[in-house]
Point group: C2
Chain length 708, copies 2
């Protein structure tokens, strides 16, 4: 089906569009769409459709879509929900390639069946569906404003994909107010067919779209999205705002969208893995977008602050740490570059402090020196309106310097003060020069610039492959399925580990006392013993476990004690035997897991054992498959990582084995569709070169309806 899909070009650059449900009534959406398309001077042909015929705003109205006599690429459907299906049928007859269903009243109010029926019909007849429940599309390339939002849109280089129609419409207005030019804006609404992934694929290649902004409430088809995002973010910055960051917000999101928003922590890690830059608020996202399209990518990490106020410089340095902007640190080079041209009581350390007595010409000289120095890659020029600060003159200098270096290195300005400074800011903004009223805002923008720099620079890597014995895994799973279980028993889970090449403690199941003793001697003392029974879940609670058995006598005593405890406290339980196993040496306890995420499909997780994951929530996630770099970064980004590096005199641990274990566990999940969850807790990690042992493993199977 995918290969026959019509190109997204027909959606963003249609030669002809119909408005099905075009209205003569000025208060109706069907009128507003026609009005905006006409007012926007769409370069293609508009076909309003309404059984009453006539004209709307001078455009002849077709009585039915079948009557349309020219090329029709996209049909906008704005009729009541119950009439949408018939409208889509007509679109099919008219050979439209896309149907954008503006109408609401579908899955967002529980009416999923009708939505599915429409999409299934459309797909069978070669039509792709956007929506339902959307506000339409604006696309600057053909000057098409097929939305019921504001009429005036400034064309430019920011593309917006939004899940919320309300926020999308408001963004069109807000973009206008903030003088942000748009290349396209589209809402995905119920995402019945076209999702963000498909749109991104187009926008990634679209020459006019230099920055992509997405507003997301919940993810569908996350695996596809991950793949597309990974490619897109190497080409252009992708900014995301996702609501439901907080626990309370996530609850509200679930109630608002009618679906589980997914764990925000997972979302956050995975979009970072994809190179997406996440903004916290709408304002922050728009602040970034405004200037990102026109800002060159720096050639290195050395940012330098120039300021006429020591305090402001310090605040900027604080902001740099918060937003991941690295300050240039070569004291010798900084001194050479600046010490001759700043006042004696200024500072040639970064932040470069040219003091409150600096004139605009001083600024110019210092800014010039910074721009000429090839080892300085980005400049934050932050000014405070001190006594005689000449804001007008400063503005001229900023304009000229920015014009000269716009394709060489990013410069961001921030000015703090009264009326003169405000006019400077307004004037620089008008010229699309990055300028802000607060150093935190300026630095947040520079942080986004650097996030994109790092995304472009990150190695593409190849995804790690693990060689696992998939058929051995499958036969374990099949056996459990045959017994109607949705979990594996401990020894079954261990079998899966062995099939994946993950070390487990040596162990054997004894069915008689003399076997237990023999196995213990083979494994080597000390050993542990555990009852094996499907009917006993919490084995240690009833005395079904014995640890640290040092010799034959202790094994004999323990064997009998375990059996006696089980018989006494779980009289009906079927006992399959007693597991005799190696006492695991102490290492650093970690947790490695993999599961099928409802949004993103197979994901892997990592954290340190004990309270780190459970209490401190110190955990990281990645969409699977992962590159080696991605697996390494998910290990190193947890706060407790220091424990693996060796703290307080301890040796460095075998981080490589942790990395390969993550890949192995992910591969098992990926290859065996029946498995929904794997958790090794703990994976005991030993000194570098000594490997790691999966001490306890829990594996769950998908419920049958999921497995299908």
């Amino acid at each position: 089906m995918r290969s026959k899909d019509p190109s997204m070009r027909y959606l963003f650059q249609p030669r002809g569009v119909a408005v099905v449900g075009a209205s003569h009534n000025e208060t109706k959406i069907g009128y507003r769409l026609v009005q905006n398309i006409v007012a926007g001077r769409y370069t293609g042909v508009l076909y309003p459709v309404n059984p009453r015929g006539g004209e709307i705003l001078g455009v002849p109205v077709y009585k039915s879509i079948e009557e349309v006599d020219g090329v029709l690429d996209t049909a906008y459907v704005a009729v009541p929900a119950e009439m949408v299906f018939d409208a889509v049928k007509s679109c099919a007859r008219a050979k439209a390639k896309f149907a954008v269903i503006i109408s609401s009243g579908f899955s967002e109010v529980g009416n999923s069946a009708e939505e599915k029926r429409i999409v299934s019909y459309a797909r069978d007849h070669g039509i792709r569906v956007v929506g339902p429940n959307v506000f339409g599309i604006y696309s600057s390339s053909v000057s098409l404003n097929a939305t019921f939002g504001p009429s005036e849109v400034k064309p430019g280089n920011v593309a917006i994909v939004t899940q919320s129609g309300a926020i999308g419409v408001a963004m069109i207005g807000k973009a206008k107010v903030e003088n942000i030019g748009l290349s396209a804006i589209i809402s995905v609404g119920n995402k019945s067919d076209v999702t963000e992934a498909g749109l991104l694929e187009y926008l990634a290649r679209d020459r006019l779209s230099k920055v992509i902004l997405m507003y997301i409430e919940g993810i569908r088809a996350g695996q596809e999205l991950v793949a597309v995002l990974k490619v897109t973010t190497r080409k252009k910055p992708v900014i995301v705002i996702k609501s439901g960051r907080s626990e309370r917000g996530a609850q509200a999101a679930a109630s608002h969208t009618g679906s589980l928003a997914g764990e925000d922590r997972v979302f956050d890690d995975i979009i970072r893995q994809c190179g997406v830059i996440r903004a916290e608020s709408l304002q922050e996202a728009l602040d970034w977008c405004k200037f990102l399209a026109d800002t060159t990518t720096p050639r290195g990490e050395n940012a330098t602050i120039i300021t006429n106020g020591g305090g402001l410089g310090v605040l900027t340095a604080d902001a740099c740490e918060k937003y991941g902007v690295r300050l240039y640190d070569d004291a010798q080079d900084l001194k050479k570059t600046f010490s001759q041209i700043i006042p004696s009581f200024g500072s040639a350390k970064n932040p470069i402090d040219i003091t409150g007595q600096a004139t605009p010409e001083d600024y110019d000289r210092v800014l010039g020196a910074a721009l000429r120095n090839p080892r300085i890659h980005a400049v934050a020029c932050v000014g405070v309106q001190a006594g005689d600060f000449d804001a007008r003159r400063f503005t001229e200098i900023a304009e000229r310097r920015h014009a000269d270096y716009r394709s060489v290195k990013p410069i961001v300005f921030s000015l703090f003060g009264g009326g003169n400074v405000e006019s400077s800011i307004a004037r620089l903004k008008e010229k699309d020069i990055p300028v802000f009223g607060d150093v935190y805002e300026a630095t947040s923008f520079l942080g986004a610039v650097y996030a994109h720099y790092r995304n472009k620079a990150r190695s593409t890597g190849t995804v790690e492959q693990a060689d696992i014995d998939a058929s051995r895994v499958q036969s374990v799973v099949d056996k459990a399925r045959a017994e109607g279980r949705v979990f594996l028993l401990a020894h079954e889970a261990q079998e899966v580990m062995l099939a994946a090449g993950i070390s487990i403690p040596r162990s054997r199941i004894a069915r008689k006392l003399d076997q237990a003793v023999r196995y213990a001697e083979q494994i080597g003392y000390p050993v542990a013993m555990k009852v094996v029974s499907k009917d006993i879940v919490h084995k240690s609670d009833i005395g079904g476990v014995a640890l640290d058995l040092e010799d034959k006598d202790e094994v004999v005593d323990a064997y009998e004690a375990i059996l006696q405890n089980c018989r006494a406290r779980r009289p009906g339980a079927r006992i399959e035997g007693i597991e005799v196993c190696e006492m695991v040496e102490t290492g650093v306890e970690t947790i490695v897991g993999a599961r099928r995420d409802p949004s993103f499909g197979p994901i892997v997780m990592f954290g340190l054992g004990g309270i780190y994951v459970e209490v401190l929530k110190d955990i990281s996630f990645r969409a699977f498959p992962v590159t080696r770099e991605e697996a390494m970064s998910m290990i190193s980004e947890v706060h407790s990582y220091a424990l693996l590096l060796g703290v307080r005199g301890a040796n460095k641990k075998d981080i490589d084995t942790v990395e390969t274990t993550i890949v192995k566990v992910g591969t098992v999940l990926q290859q065996c569709k029946d498995i929904s969850d794997i958790e090794i807790n703990p994976l005991m990690v030993y000194d570098y070169g000594q490997g790691a042992t999966a001490v306890d493993v829990r594996i769950l199977l998908s419920r049958s309806e999921e497995a299908a």
Copy 2:
């Protein structure tokens, strides 16, 4: 001296002010001051002073300050640094009560001696000094703009105390631009005499100042500041911006202010202890100040969000979690209040979603219901410019509702959209109604409102007292001093613990083998043994420690082994004996400490042992003395607190003993001025009711110059 200090009234409400160094040259600060005082219509009498005499802007100039014939409360000194001392002498003869030294060229450029000479002379002659290196003072009560900043200042209710002149001057301008009214603004500059504490004491009582904003780079006289802040923050909100939050920023601050900025973590904890609300950026602080003066304090924690956009509601809920605003949660009551007046597909859960089809009248109805419900204590009304959103009508409703409820409960508005919405925001702002363009900004403000609510509500408590044997501590310290040491030996530190009533492991020092055996039997097996020697620091490294000795034989072997190891590896070391001590049972390892902070004086600290403090920096501080609530809050706010509550089946630990240990350790530091540092690491904490044991204690003495 303090009791004879002139009242701060003479500074903020002077009857007469002199400008020493008044200038005829319009580019000079001495001219600008006169100009601003004249333009500002100061209600008292202005005496410009310049040996050349004449007139400036129509005001007669005095040839010397001694010639001033009326009441002179404050003299502004704006002459070159080398002439300041003589000017201050003249001020003394003229009986001025305050000298505000505008001039720079003192300690900020290393010239501390002259600064000290001036202050010492001034204090001896009953004059208090503001500065040097300041921009002057604005005080609305007498319409005095004695600054060289902008001429136009809007009088109002925000008082600003700033350490940076440059940022202060810019703030005057910025406040004007943002329509923020000021009651006073003053820069403290080098703080040679008057510090923030003294100014706050006045501003806390000042009727016109309803909000206080402080910009701080480093703290001096922190103990006094803590005391004043604790009182002030119960009366009115105190907002602080401190630069040097980050490591890099702190380095820059040290280089900028020429002094150590102190650990930001300590600053952050202690000002929170004082009830201060810390803003991150200048913009955030000004956003808060703008509306705080005029916003009523809520009567409870139940905030409610009303929105016409589900997504925007979710973003607001996210922001509430970030900024500590608690959402009202009584589903029954919310349903009763709202379900009849919102559309069926809206949501009567909090956020209340009245959907994009809501008219301003719908908003009004729902807002009215929220305002009338006495169990709802604050409302965030956040709107998105959906299709037919009538921004003008919304504005009228917002104005009326705000006017009716302004003294009853806080309402904050946020509007997101295009031009119409922007005009609404501008109009509401003009009327001082809290309104923002982004829900994060609106919620950040509401967070500040709630922070002040909680500060007012917090119990005053009484500071905890510990009964310690101070003379016993002193004699231990004296002995160490006599031996020229600046640290205590292990057994001396233990002696201090006993004097403070803190449990330590039972131990005795044996000088012979048979003593060692006897002590071990008294203490009870197992025991540990350690060599006691001033010459051996890392005892375990050379085999000077033996653990887990189970019986007499093991004690005998260990005694001989330790002696042999020490003789072999530290041949010259003087060995005082072998300590025999109780093997400490395992509990939760914590760290409790106290030290003299260069900014704040005695402070106490708490954290969990192992990697929590050292690697994860999970640690809390308080200025000492502390109330019981403060001590408890410093324990409960560390992330690893869960370990003391008992996780994964463990019992709750003896948190009360941790609390009393913090107080005891603080009291020792407070009462014994020779001690600069105490660290118990670990304090082993047992199950509730079982106490805690100080296993290892490190005590440092102040270097003699500090102790003085």
